[in-house]
Subunit: 403 residues, 2 copies
Amino acid sequence: MSARVGVEEHAAFVRSLLSGLGARPTERVAVADALGRITASPVESPIALPPFRNSQMDGFAVRAADVAAAADGPVVLPISGEVAAAPGLPEPLAPGTAVRIMTGAQVPEGADAVVPVEDTEAVVGDSDSVRVLAPRAPGAFVRDAGSDLAAGDDVLPPGLKLGSRHLAAAAASGLTELLVRERVRVAVVSTGSELVSPGAELGAGEIPDANGVALASAVRAAGAVVVFEARVRDDVDRLRAELDAARDAGAELVVTSGGISKGAYEVVRELLEPLGAWVGSVAMQPGGPQAAAAYRGMPVIGFPGNPVSAQLSFELFVAPTLRAIAGLPAASVDRLELAEPLVSVAGRRQYLRGRRDEAGRAVVVGGPGSHLVAALAASDLLLVVPEDVTALGAGELVDVVAL
Amino acid sequence: MSARVGVEEHAAFVRSLLSGLGARPTERVAVADALGRITASPVESPIALPPFRNSQMDGFAVRAADVAAAADGPVVLPISGEVAAAPGLPEPLAPGTAVRIMTGAQVPEGADAVVPVEDTEAVVGDSDSVRVLAPRAPGAFVRDAGSDLAAGDDVLPPGLKLGSRHLAAAAASGLTELLVRERVRVAVVSTGSELVSPGAELGAGEIPDANGVALASAVRAAGAVVVFEARVRDDVDRLRAELDAARDAGAELVVTSGGISKGAYEVVRELLEPLGAWVGSVAMQPGGPQAAAAYRGMPVIGFPGNPVSAQLSFELFVAPTLRAIAGLPAASVDRLELAEPLVSVAGRRQYLRGRRDEAGRAVVVGGPGSHLVAALAASDLLLVVPEDVTALGAGELVDVVAL
């Protein structure tokens, strides 16, 4: 048995195995389906925004010169037409007249200002005229074509995580598709002859496979996609077949649970160690046994079979890379006072499950056992106790990572 | 024209119209599909966790009494069998013997402790025996059935937003489905005769409909689902037909854009005002015109047609309710120094688009115009200038809301 490696050392090794995932292939997706995706290139607008000169207000399009005298008193202009926000080209404005105009409607040729309806009055007995109460400078309440963006300008930068406002700008530019980075395609393989499908009748010695659901949903929460899921009994040939099938399904990364410890039936170890995998012990609790390999060029990261260890190992070693690729924030780290004293094991970094109490202090939930899946579910943070710390008193500060 | 109402007053009115959405119907979804959903009831585990007494380590299951003498020197025990983590019931342990056991395997009847393999040695020349180097107290490295959770106990509370660790605990409990709250079903209706599908050839006076994509993706980002989308020209009968169709599609809420201003073709106003809708002006910029109604019992919240106004109005008036129902955090609010002076309009709360510069100060992006969709896309925060503030100097503090 080899000596234990440090948490950071193993994390760096896994990161290096996953480094190839960073250069993402690209794909075109409909703008309407692109929420949360990341642009793969600058996005040019094929049209100017706005595409034509239009009115910022409901009111009257005029020549500014024709209403300049309104500075000294109301000016009455005949209404020569009406322009709505609608298809078609409006007639040019006849000098000395006003055209009723709606917000967003094209400003007719010849007009260079809009008088908002609030600055006008009806002319009693003459519905074909309007009384303009205030002058407007040329350009007033007129949105010029291209004042937001010129045709050919970039409307979105590359590497942008797309929110609704970005999709709105793409749609306003008349775009229907965006070139985005593909999401990382992950396979999840649970190993263990004792595992059955959740919901299946349990025979003696059988347990529901929690790791399949746990890792698949953790992969999705980290912004990647699950392209392959399998559960295999402790049979090296079956595992090999499933890894081949995962590769055929386009997986770029496989995460496995179980089969890497020092027992007699360690299927992941048996298959991958002869192929050069590192299978060993990391100085952490839970989650000591870990494995990392490349299988036919595809990284395979192996976690222990205990569901708590498997979940924690994924969060520590794989999730940070996937989250970074997906543009998701890293897990938030904080430092809280301990509500109660705790003890830890020398030489191992301990990740205790816990939560924040009403007083904002960290409380341990359940014990250190790696089988306590319900206790993990009742937790919302991990207390991180360093390798060289064996005891902490109530009130002492501890690093916590949000779950 | 009625007087302007305040932002808070309109927000409270919309909230009251949406209050019926809070009592969510429930639905059963597969555990594997429940990530991010919210439990509708306490979730009981039908089985104990763990379901049977099992080993915490690879090692040897023994009677603690048989290895007590190892405190004074190694004890050699004959190996009477082997138990793997696998289906089937192991033979009871014969007193005075040890059974080789794997992590997670059932501890045989008669055994009450596990000696980890690290605390044992092979007996040279006798592979049928094991040398135990240290005593173990009863219960050592044995995980009792139900030590995580008893059968019938709640494994998940109601009202919980499901993360992967919660789904793992549900799967470990053998559950295949969870009762969750239904997501809010929303219809998005864009109005305006000038609108065409993004990507369609633009004729004179036509613009791509950005509001449909903007509001639909904003609805999704707020944790609700879009069950109906439509775009209607300025035609009251068409709008009525689409609202009826939205209702038939199961929409619980409709958001509309356009048709609520004071122009001549205000289709939302024309349809809904006679039915009791409030259509008026809110003391804000952009987004002054607003509408809120119930149509056949279904709330209809109307936003202006300018894409920036529509998006901002959604975030201010509808998104907070949807996010709260979906268990998503509220938009984060901060207070930053202004990089440059700004002016605002008296009597209106102004929401300027901006971003945080390298020095962590707030910078305005684009101008106040509600047509600046590209500028909104380039922003990552809103600067909120109160109604009674008309100017702020560089270095003064301003409230900002993250986009």
